[in-house]
């Protein structure tokens, strides 16, 4: 295996770790708003690192551009849905959890 393979594998492991931690946050955080934080931030970073690993692995310009584009589109979709969920929660009167 070349050093590039090791780099790709390391990045894949790190990205998986962020997805797992995002899920831990989703389960542990106290209310809908905090849980959205856990999902949006951790998963986007995890996906970004995953995309970086796949782009390095593909070593093809067009494939890399397509992967980057996928990341950007997912970012836009994530930001939109999390905003809509948070807004719907506020409008239906869900009080944010406050530290006791």
């Amino acid at each position: 295996m070349s050093w590039m393979d090791f780099l790709v594998i390391a990045l894949l492991i790190v990205s998986t770790a962020f997805f797992i931690v995002g899920t831990i946050g989703l389960l542990r955080f106290p209310d809908v708003y905090s849980r959205l934080h856990a999902l949006t931030k951790a998963d986007n970073l995890g996906l970004g690192i995953l995309i970086l690993a796949l782009a390095l692995n593909s070593a093809s310009g067009l494939v890399s551009i397509r992967l980057m584009l996928t990341w950007v589109l997912v970012l836009v979709a994530t930001a939109t849905t999390s905003h809509l969920i948070a807004r719907a929660a506020r409008e239906s009167g869900v009080e944010p959890w406050v530290k006791p």
């Binding site: 931690v21 067009l62 905003h83 944010p96 530290k99």
Partner: protein
């Protein structure tokens, strides 16, 4: 240079401007389609109608009112965004993993200085993906943010993102009201801004 500001007062952009905006959306969305489908011509049967539909909806909901985007400012914005995506992911990961789970969440409401709906929407998108902030409502120039840690200088970041976005578009920021309409619910203590 201030033509975009007119759209704030409700005046619709002129017909030629709308047509140019629609054409720009068509080109951008068409390019996205071609890249995603690897240039497969048989996919255009779906690609062309959906591209046109998306461009129509986009130019109806957020018409392009000015074109010149400053590339250097865009690169500065992307650098800021990438750096803070990493910070945001690590920050939320550490909070989730610590047994004590340090959270002091609350809602922060603040007025924005960005003059157009499109730039405000861009700011709402950006803050949702950055450390500790999540947009949970955008009503005209007032944004409601859910923050994970009310001790963090949230407003400083908002002002910084506003400056970055205004730089990309080359637009002037609006003056804030003399008394900043900042109100914090759910938490006591001072905002560091």
């Amino acid at each position: 240079m201030n033509s975009s500001v007119t759209s704030v007062s409700g005046a619709a952009p002129s017909r030629p401007r709308l047509a140019i905006g629609f054409a720009i959306y068509c080109v951008v969305f068409g390019a996205i389609w071609v890249v995603l489908t690897n240039g497969d011509t048989s996919s255009w049967m779906f690609g062309i109608p959906f591209t046109a539909f998306a461009a129509l909806v986009s130019s109806a909901m957020s018409p392009i009112t000015r074109l010149p985007i400053r590339p250097l400012a865009l690169i500065r914005f992307l650098a800021y965004f990438l750096r803070n995506s990493v910070v945001g992911g690590v920050d939320v990961a550490l909070r989730a993993l610590q047994p004590s789970m340090p959270l002091t969440p609350g809602i922060v409401v603040c007025s924005l200085r960005l003059p157009t709906p499109t730039t405000r929407a861009l700011l709402a998108y950006t803050v949702s993906l950055l450390p500790g902030t999540l947009s949970s409502g955008l009503e005209d120039e007032v944004i409601a943010l859910h923050v994970l840690d009310t001790e963090q200088p949230v407003l400083v970041e908002i002002r910084r993102i506003e400056n970055l976005i205004a730089d990309i578009m080359g637009i002037e920021l609006l003056e804030l009201p003399a008394v900043p309409s900042v109100e914090k619910t759910s938490q006591d203590g001072d905002l560091n801004a």
